[in-house]
């Protein structure tokens, strides 16, 4: 690649103007002719038998067009291991279980009808902690597994395990050891735009669903399975994604409300819209999973890590989402952040009668980083080594293969550590006293896709038209992160046209090629790589056709020039001969010969050449398709081995805090985030994405927790569930992007969507320890926990 014209330049995002004008259309803003409003009746118990459901009053309410339950609809199984149902039959296993649903001519009538549905329950004892769930006499959340076989306990049939080296030898070699139990809470993705969908059947029984999803093609597969369950085998679900008001992982599963919309739309023959309000979003949509992590690490006198032992317990809630596979991502830092020769990692998941959880940004990584990086500071203290120094001594290196078999191509961790130390004024600020302190923590994450499914691929179609426009068809999802920005710059750069000629079409399984989903920080990495591959094909075909057509178009240009200016003297140049060589260049929307790049008549507008290719006998249109599937492996999760990503991303964050020991309040004074991003694609969107991740990291560290009691969520609103406001985000932030130019990255770039929030919480906790000498083990770090820890010090 020669000099980059668009990549790396500060560029406003293409979807910005419509969003600033209030003209982006989210699911809340869409309607269809004849559309009905759906509403779900949720369980009032965490664990109970359903004795009777009486829907007669709801059915009689004028304006109600359908009332459905599991009794009067086909069984539609959903979920990652198909242990969940669109509508529940026989018993409920969590407070949010969907029992019935209505479709009505307006939202008020639908809500009124829901209140008229009477349900009689027989309450059952529930299990609400992993300990309760694992007790010998624990009530079973599921009596049978998805295949109908009896179950004996509440453990999930999922196993995530890794052992490498010789743990006992590593323990024996350790001169210093630190152990700790750490926990993270359930938190809510808190998208500003809540969840919702519209389902509509045509008279051929084909389904179109406008969904708030990050996985349109896996959703298509799930919905098609549901259609088969409904007796419509062979029919298709077309999934269209409207503007998303954030997603942050909440769109990585298909959800019961979507299947309920489908059932209601099919029952009524009309489009049915279900949109969650904020209370429903908090109480009935799956939040981020909690975690309990026990960790022990040891090092020798030089500070070299000799072993790491990690046991994870996970409260899965009542059903299983893709998010239950979050130990796959925990395993990455567990095995591969810093060089550790002897490792044990194991994660076990259990069913409880709590709300079932799903993915959120980072997908297990922040949970593990919390334990690992907090514990590392404890180890540094035990060894009498500065925590920055300890990290440097164990720093990963380019070219290494980690114990999990992860192949490190590029690694900017050392630069990240050093940059943070410099910017945060380490070590001066380590000993400033006055209840102020600094801390740091690092991260390791997938940066080149993340193979958790058979295909980690993405397709790209570029369709050029007679006006030189480039229509892009891509199956990934813009949810606010700025993918359209990265993608339009990548196409412009790789193809040689101006960004304003790039049009990214809405994500639609009916028009776009397959993509596994916008997750694992893979969006820009995948999209841009696929765009480069498709652009190469487009250029090759245009240049091939230009051999025969270019000279004629150039001569037309010359004719026009002569008409304007009869004295114009063209340089002596055999354009036919040069064109026949087939050596062309395309830049800024002009095709030219490298031998004469500046001769104006020899610069043929791309649209002119495209028309020449199109409008002739046996003409053709230029469209190219590419499918990029990165060079990575689907790991064996029971062995914990396999190169999951084509490249990996690194980062370090440093924080300076001041702690009020009277109130327990933590004030952030300064934050430095240094990230190995491979290559900056668009500084503006990269900074925005990182600032936003930091805010989520700070929320995770200090404020956020979904509180529940016996499975009932207690704070389902923004009054009682606090996300950072502009008041909390009021301190200097230094973002430092380390460019390591990864060979597999598009223009050298790595994925960076999730990493910004991964090490924030442990960096803050380590700074708090430095400031006041107390170690907090359980997120969030509330003033009450600080005061209690100070009291016990």
């Amino acid at each position: 690649m020669t000099e980059l014209k668009y990549i790396g330049k500060e560029t406003p995002r293409p979807d910005g103007p419509d969003k600033a004008a209030g003209r982006a259309h989210y699911i809340h803003d869409l309607s269809r002719p004849g559309m009905l409003y759906g509403k779900v009746k949720f369980s009032e118990h965490a664990h109970a038998r359903i004795l009777r459901i009486d829907t007669s009053k709801a059915e009689r309410l004028p304006g109600v067009q359908a009332v459905i339950t599991a009794e009067n609809t086909p069984e539609v199984r959903i979920g990652f291991i198909r242990d969940n149902f669109a509508l529940k039959k026989g018993k409920v296993r969590q407070f949010r279980d969907e029992i019935a649903a209505v479709a009505a001519i307006d939202a008020d009538i639908a809500a009124e009808a829901i209140d008229l549905i009477e349900v009689e329950y027989e309450a059952l004892p529930g299990v609400f902690t992993t300990e309760e769930a694992l007790a010998d006499d624990a009530p079973l959340v599921h009596e049978i597994d998805p295949r109908g076989r009896p179950r004996n306990d509440n453990r999930l049939p999922l196993r995530f395990h890794h052992e490498s080296g010789d743990l006992e030898a590593g323990r024996a070699a350790a001169k210093h050891i630190a152990s700790g139990d750490f926990s993270t809470p359930v938190i809510q993705q808190s998208c500003m735009g809540t969840a919702g969908c519209i389902a509509e059947f045509d008279l051929n029984q084909q389904l179109t669903i406008w969904a708030k999803t990050q996985i349109p093609f896996l959703a298509q597969r799930d919905f098609n399975q549901a259609l088969a369950d409904m007796g419509l085998a062979g029919k298709n679900a077309r999934v269209i994604v409207s503007a998303l008001g954030g997603a942050f992982g909440s769109g990585l599963d298909t959800h019961a409300y979507e299947f309920i919309s489908i059932l209601l739309a099919h029952r009524t023959g009309k489009p049915v819209k279900i949109v969650y309000n904020r209370d429903e979003e908090f109480a009935y949509l799956s939040p981020r999973q909690s975690s309990q992590v026990s960790i022990t690490q040891g090092c020798d006198d030089e500070g070299q890590l000799t072993f790491r032992e990690i046991q994870v317990w996970q409260d899965n809630g009542a059903y299983t989402s893709w998010g239950a596979t979050f130990p796959t991502v925990m395993m990455l830092p567990a095995t591969s952040l810093y060089r550790v020769p002897n490792i044990f990692f194991d994660a076990k998941l259990v069913y409880t009668n709590n709300t079932y959880c799903q993915a959120m940004r980072g997908y297990g990584n922040p949970e593990l980083a919390w334990a690992l990086e907090s514990n590392l500071d404890d180890l540094a203290e035990a060894a009498g080594i500065d925590p920055f120094e300890l990290r440097l001594r164990n720093c990963n290196q380019p070219g290494e293969t980690t114990p999990m078999g992860l192949k490190v191509t590029t690694c900017g961790l050392k630069e990240c550590l050093q940059t943070v130390a410099d910017k945060i004024a380490w070590p001066q600020k380590r000993s400033q006293g006055k209840r102020r302190g600094v801390g740091m923590a690092s991260l390791f994450h997938v940066g080149g896709g993340g193979r958790i499914y058979r295909s980690d691929g993405t397709g790209m179609i570029l369709k050029l038209d007679d006006f030189g426009n480039v229509n892009v068809y891509f199956g990934g999802v813009e949810m606010g992160q700025g993918m359209y920005s990265a993608l339009s710059l990548a196409v412009a750069e790789a193809l040689g046209v101006k960004p304003e000629k790039i049009f990214i079409n809405p994500t639609d399984t009916g028009t776009c090629p397959w993509d596994v989903g916008t997750h694992a920080s893979r969006g820009a990495f995948m999209a841009c790589n696929a765009a480069i591959a498709a652009s190469k094909k487009v250029r090759a075909r245009i240049f091939e056709r230009a051999r025969a057509l270019f000279a004629n178009e150039a001569k037309k240009n010359l004719k026009k020039l002569h008409k304007k200016n009869p004295d114009f003297k063209a340089a002596d140049f055999d354009v036919e001969a040069e064109a026949r060589n087939g050596e062309f260049e395309l830049q800024d929307g002009f095709v030219f010969l490298p031998a004469a790049p500046d001769e104006s008549w020899l610069r043929v507008d791309l649209s002119q050449l495209l028309r020449a290719i199109h409008f002739r006998e046996q003409g053709e249109m230029i469209t190219a398709e590419a499918f990029y599937d990165p060079p990575n492996e689907l790991p064996d999760w029971e062995k914990g081995y396999g190169n999951m990503s084509a490249t990996y991303t690194w980062g370090t964050q440093g924080v300076e805090v001041e702690v009020d020991t009277e109130t327990g309040e933590v004030k952030i004074l300064h934050l430095v985030a240094a990230h190995d991003v491979g290559k900056v694609l668009n500084p503006q969107t990269l900074k925005g994405q990182t600032y936003g991740a930091l805010a989520q990291g700070i929320g995770y560290a200090l404020y956020e927790e979904v509180l529940s009691e016996q499975g009932r969520i207690l704070n389902p609103n923004f009054r009682d569930y606090k996300i950072p406001t502009v008041a909390e985000m009021n301190f200097p932030i230094d973002l430092e992007f380390i460019e390591t130019n990864d060979p597999e990255g598009p223009f050298g770039a790595k994925g960076i969507g999730e990493p910004g929030l991964v090490p924030t919480a442990p960096a803050i906790a380590n700074a708090i320890y430095n400031a006041i000498g107390v170690r907090i083990h359980d997120l969030p770090i509330t003033p009450e926990k600080i005061l209690a820890a100070l009291k016990n010090k």
Binding site: N717, T725, A727
Partner: protein, 159 residues
């Protein structure tokens, strides 16, 4: 029960009727098809539904629709220039990266508009105070504050 209303919406007089229990956000979104005003929480906590009523930023999810009678209401649809261009304030949000998913943007921009109308040259702290009721989950607010500072500077240089 419906009552008649006359008010000025984005500079144009409008006569309509509305059920007495409707909120301003319902009137705007459901009756007048102005979907730029977003519903984020319906209890005044998130600010996504912020509009201007007689120049003041209000949460339209808490504002009874009948109370706009005789008043001037500005929504995000009314901020742009007449020839399908963004206002300087909106353009600053685009230019400075103040927009990501865009769901909070209309409310954020109208809170900023109310501030700049009162105080054309706000300090960072004053900007932060004015945005205290507007939640954003994407941006960490940094580029939003930048956007408003840029807008203030541009608007002042026009004078």
């Amino acid at each position: 029960m419906k009552i008649d209303l006359s008010f000025t919406l984005n500079g144009s007089p409008i006569n309509t009727s509305v059920a007495v229990d409707r909120r301003l956000v319902d009137l705007l979104r459901d009756e007048l098809d102005l979907t730029g005003t977003k519903i984020g929480c319906e209890e005044g906590e998130c600010g996504a539904c912020t509009v201007l009523v007689d120049g003041q930023a209000v949460n339209s999810c808490l504002f009874p629709a009948p109370e706009v009678d005789g008043k001037h209401v500005i929504t995000i649809e009314g901020l742009g220039e007449s020839d399908n261009r963004l206002s300087e304030l909106q353009q600053a949000f685009v230019d400075q990266g103040g927009i990501q998913c865009g769901f909070c943007s209309p409310g954020m921009i109208l809170s900023a508009r109310a501030l700049l109308n009162e105080n054309p040259n706000p300090s960072q702290d004053e900007i932060r105070e004015a945005l205290g009721g507007n939640l954003c989950r994407c941006t960490g607010y940094v580029q939003i504050v930048d956007s408003i500072q840029t807008a203030a500077a541009r608007e002042n240089s026009d004078d």
